[in-house]
Amino acid sequence: MKSMWKALVVAAAVSMFTAGTALAGYTFNVTGVTVGMSCPGDAYYDGGDDSVTVEPYFDWCTLKVTCTPLGTAIWGWYADVFILADDTIVKGIAMKGTNNTWFYTVGQTYDCLTLKGAYTNIGDTDAYGTDVGLGMDTSTMGWVANAISLKVGVCWAACLAQVFFDKGAKGTLDEVLPAAGQKMLLER
């Protein structure tokens, strides 16, 4: 009996050690919306603003948000996504909505290198409206994102322009804001 307890203690110790180090799962299924991260972080449904909130814990993560059929069943034909990365550098955000479920996204990063969206709108979330979009703190220092590409998506109220681009580029961006169903591709 003593030996069995010894075996249990050893097994428990091994298990706890494994749980502590096996922070391997960086893919979350949040109400049918899949959030893949290349580093530790969290993704969860936030009832406060009715959004899928994505929060990386490390700098230089790549965030990929996609929608499964379950997501369409739960969210319907759109889902609001909040990128909560005020204090982190995000390497890339890829928001890939579907024909069935479009994403509407809002949030803030310290810096973001690339933004790719398909069936994705910037701004116009239910909780924050059309004046609030996706931000980048370093834009106040004049920095801009390296590349932004939106396929089938709309930038609402130039909120993306204001925060991802400097003022010089904003004028250009306003002229090419696409309507739904059109493609916007801006490379810098």
């Binding site: 030996s3 249990l8 391997a24 969860y44 005020d86 398909a118 004046d131």
Partner: protein, 451 residues
């Protein structure tokens, strides 16, 4: 005596496995709110959110008010949407006839129609089908496909004759979900007859391919191999969602390998490959970073590879690719890919990370080392080297005026991610450095990491 010992060993092993499984589950789902249904707090009707009364009137447009990292305002379960009542149906009808074309509002309200089989809802959808506004007709098609209306198939067949390709595409998708046999009966002869708009051709092929229709898969593959009809191949690539990996991977491989294919098409194919969750897709991307591909293709493939969370590749394979690579940008992406490997092997990665000489690539290599240290995936050798050698190099890089903004932020990121006392001390020094780009980030702590 032996039997008793055997019993003890078996009991211990079973208990160990159970504990291991529990711990693994808890580790994997840490941070995912799993609450028993009974314990859930009362919810506001989230599915039909209130108008954005709290939306700031700020002009110019800006980011949302700062929310403390790790402080969600509430973590609830999203409540299912109740079926629309008579008042809801009246409101939706009024919206339909108001002439408003707010895509989000329309999507919200039309989706609600799929939650009922009330004849009134069907009547509204029939009115939407006759609307001069194309969005109304397309949303009616979506609702017919997603709902449980007995006449749906016949109505969708009628929408296949719509003059606008966007509406026909919506009807094709809906029919593909509702009754693929009916779609096949209409779609394949229509493709043979010719004259279908490109988007509709792609929609038919991929809607049927999702159901494993061999004829459709063969046709889509033929278009990919040929790659001369750029419009059709682009339209096919845009509709890859939901197609099984054993169809998607060969098709994307065909697009990349097509002699007639353009660089833009290959870039789309690389990007689409990173969305296919299969080891074959990751292996194919790695293959294109190592074989005699053009620099542009290698960069695209490596960048796509680095965006795959938990890529199922061996550390040795990625290291070999990085060692052989002469292009700095591609090497940077390969170092990024090392961070997101499902099972990184620090013993294999360390010599490659240490050997990097180019300053830009070195910033990426050291960022990866720091991140692995912070993630608890470094071994003792990597951890020790990081603290004794890499920390100082990263601090110098973060302040170097000869490096790009990206490389300097990578260097700072490496220190922040590592979180060791030596790295934290370096970050504290950088917080006083006077360079706004580095200083302001160094002064902010990373979000808490629940472990």
């Amino acid at each position: 005596m032996n039997l008793r010992r055997l019993y003890v060993l078996i009991a211990g092993a079973v208990a160990g496995i159970l504990l291991l499984a529990t711990a693994f589950y808890l580790g994997r789902h840490a941070g995912t709110p799993v609450q028993p249904a009974a314990a859930l707090p009362a919810l506001q009707p989230a599915a039909v959110p209130a108008p954005p009364a709290a939306a700031p009137e700020a002009t110019p447009a800006t980011a949302p008010a700062r929310r403390g990292a790790g402080e969600a305002s509430s973590r609830d379960r999203r409540e299912p949407v109740p079926p629309p009542g008579p008042a809801d149906l009246a409101r939706i009808r009024a919206l339909l006839h108001s002439g408003k074309v707010d895509p989000k509002l329309l999507r919200r309200e039309f989706w609600r129609l799929t939650k009922t089989t009330d004849p009134e809802a069907l009547a509204i959808l029939k009115e939407a089908m006759a609307s001069p506004v194309p969005q109304h007709r397309a949303l009616a098609a979506m609702a017919l496909g997603a709902g449980a209306f007995p006449e749906a198939t016949a109505l969708l067949r009628a929408l296949l004759q719509d003059p606008l390709p966007e509406v026909v595409c919506a009807a094709v998708r809906a029919l593909g979900e509702l009754d693929p046999a009916v779609l096949r009966q209409w779609g394949l002869p229509a493709l043979d007859a010719g004259g279908l708009p490109t988007a509709v051709q792609a929609e038919v092929l991929m809607a049927l391919a999702r159901h494993g229709d061999e004829v459709a898969i063969e046709r889509a593959m033929a278009a990919a191999v040929d790659a001369t009809d750029t419009g059709l191949v682009t339209a096919l690539l845009e509709r890859m969602t939901g197609v099984s990996a054993d169809v998607a991977v060969p098709m994307l491989q065909a697009v990349i390998a097509a002699p007639q294919g353009t660089a833009d098409l290959r870039a789309q194919a690389f990007d689409a490959l990173s969305d296919v969750s299969s080891p074959e897709a990751a292996a194919l991307l790695l293959q294109y970073t190592t074989q005699q591909a053009s620099v542009a293709d290698r960069r695209q493939a490596a960048e796509a590879l680095s965006s795959i969370p938990e890529a199922a590749l061996s550390s040795r394979q990625v290291c070999d690719a990085a060692t052989a690579e002469t292009d700095v940008s591609t090497r940077v992406s390969l170092y990024d890919a090392m961070r997101s490997l499902a099972t990184p092997d620090p013993a294999v990665l360390l010599p490659v990370l240490q050997a990097e000489q180019d300053p830009q690539a070195q910033a990426a290599a050291l960022l990866t080392a720091g991140t692995l240290v912070g993630m608890g995936r470094a071994d003792a050798a990597m951890q020790s080297w990081f603290d004794t050698d890499a920390v100082q190099s990263l601090e110098e890089m973060a302040l170097s005026s000869s490096l790009s903004r990206e490389s300097r932020l990578r260097a700072l990121g490496g220190l922040r991610n590592a979180g060791t006392p030596a790295a934290q001390a370096a970050v504290a020094r950088l917080a006083q450095c006077g360079d706004p780009l580095i200083q302001s980030l160094a002064a902010r702590p990373l979000p808490s990491r629940p472990r």
